[in-house]
Symmetry: C2
């Protein structure tokens, strides 16, 4: 498979994929969500189940043209919508869950329900972003800008696994995953650095398969060969990271907000861990970002 | 004073300032430092004392043209250079300290020495960056990308004070300082958010003078009015922050590295707290960044 390096190639790839993926949308009653769904329907790479008010198609005229590829499940409120969407996935009726106008916490309650939810026992739930921009010549994936405030060691290991997996789904043969910290020194005063050293040992033992895992290193060293050279750092990442694992949500969120605001980067965000990817846009995300998130979810589902 | 919004206006302002500032450079034996000093000498807004090998001018031919504005203090190693430079400042012989080819830790040892150093008792030492780029129409100042890993409440308060001070030195009449966190909620589970609430109370009590201090909020809400609007956040920052206070070094360093690498932002970094500003470039900083740092230090010294 040829490596998919940007959103244009991603959607071109999806258009050729058969059968079409099935997306269940939870209370999709905002303009941006409608616009994203409408664009996907027009391009023909996914079908939709809208779980919301039973008259939702009266509001969303643009979706009416695709009556054979859009079905509606009427419910009375967004919490019921979340439970119903999760049930549809469990019953094998959908491949991807998409968040509409519902609080993240309320959607997660349904997704994480131990009896009726979507997260297998022992699986780590984390957020993964695909970013394209800032003159970087390929996708840059990273975790976790939305769900885990301070990852435990086990959660960091899971993040690395998901990062390797998504890179492979995008056709990266030997994913390079950089473990981010402001310094390249391993220092017991900063436990994240010793946890990174342990993750490298797991990588050397083959736990993550054919992937290059290295760190601690800063964002510049991870993504720019010249900076690494000036600092005298010889890393197998070689300034060409495919994925970044951030030390915590504060740092990841700063990267996410800085890239989208100051570098006008495009991004797509999904939850990993559940049996189906969950598309979880943030409130200030645009329609195009929701559309991109659907594309990433449909590729890996 | 007209607000200085970019490095071009800053150096134009310095060229008109009298008398010229005096910079003491600690072991300035690398190409980038020479280039930065040479440019300042050419533009005529500072004089230099080079503390290093006594034959240093033989190596740095470009500085020889300015014999009347460059003096040399010969020492045998960089640690001695640091001690000597600090002494010169204490004796009133220089206004700014500049780091050359010496480890930050070694320079700081001399600066922080309780008997012979430059930090008054009770003063907080922190790092402050001036950033220009990413299509933001003015300087964006932030702390701390280099010195304090996890600020205490007292250190956060000092960072806010220094931020207000530097904004005022740049002619910002009523500085807007945003306290950064990934969410705008105050939540005792995340102590930084309750510390921010306390800082806002101090601001309301007038501790920081005529300034707008608000948070917690994320980088996008702080620097983009549109994002704040979509999120329904009404803040007096109005998406036009002059300065950002980051929750910790991890987050600040990600901002610094992301802006300089992906947004090609220009930056200048100095230490605040000592009786004279200390210019402290990072190893991967360019000559232009060192030159900009000198400009910021000479403005506020």
């Amino acid at each position: 498979m040829k490596q998919i390096k940007n959103f244009g190639s991603l959607t071109a790839h999806l258009k050729k994929q058969k059968p079409r993926k099935r997306v269940v949308a939870v209370w999709p009653s905002d303009k941006n969500t409608e616009e994203a769904i409408s664009r996907v329907l027009h391009e023909g790479w996914a079908d939709f189940i809208l779980v919301g008010p039973s008259d939702i198609l009266d509001t969303f005229q643009s979706l009416k043209h695709y009556a054979d590829r859009v079905s509606v499940v009427g419910v009375s409120d967004c919490d019921e919508a979340a439970r119903e969407a999760v049930k549809i996935v469990r019953d094998g009726g959908a491949d991807v869950v998409m968040k509409g106008l519902i609080n993240t916490d309320n959607l997660l309650r349904a997704v994480l329900n131990k009896e009726t939810g979507l997260l297998p026992k022992g699986k780590v739930l984390t957020h993964l972003t695909a970013m394209q921009g800032g003159r970087y010549g390929k996708f840059l994936f990273f975790s976790d800008a939305a769900v885990i405030p301070s990852p435990t060691f086990e959660q960091r290991v899971a993040m690395v696994s998901y990062a390797v997996e998504i890179c492979q789904a995008f056709g990266v043969e030997r994913p390079r995953v950089a473990l981010i910290h402001y310094s390249e020194k391993i220092n017991p005063k900063f436990p994240v650095t010793t946890e990174y050293a342990e993750i490298k040992r797991l990588a050397d033992a083959g736990v993550f398969g054919d992937a290059v895992i290295d760190g601690p290193m800063d964002v510049k060293t991870a993504c720019d060969a010249e900076s690494a050279k000036i600092k005298g750092i010889a890393s197998p990442i070689e300034g060409q990271a495919d994925a970044l694992i951030f030390p915590d949500l504060e740092a990841a969120n700063v990267f996410y907000k800085t890239m989208t605001l100051f570098c006008k980067a495009d991004n797509a965000g999904i939850l990993r861990g559940p049996i189906a990817p969950v598309v979880l846009p943030s409130r200030s995300d645009s329609a195009i970002s929701k559309y991109y998130s659907l594309a990433v979810a449909c590729l890996i589902s």
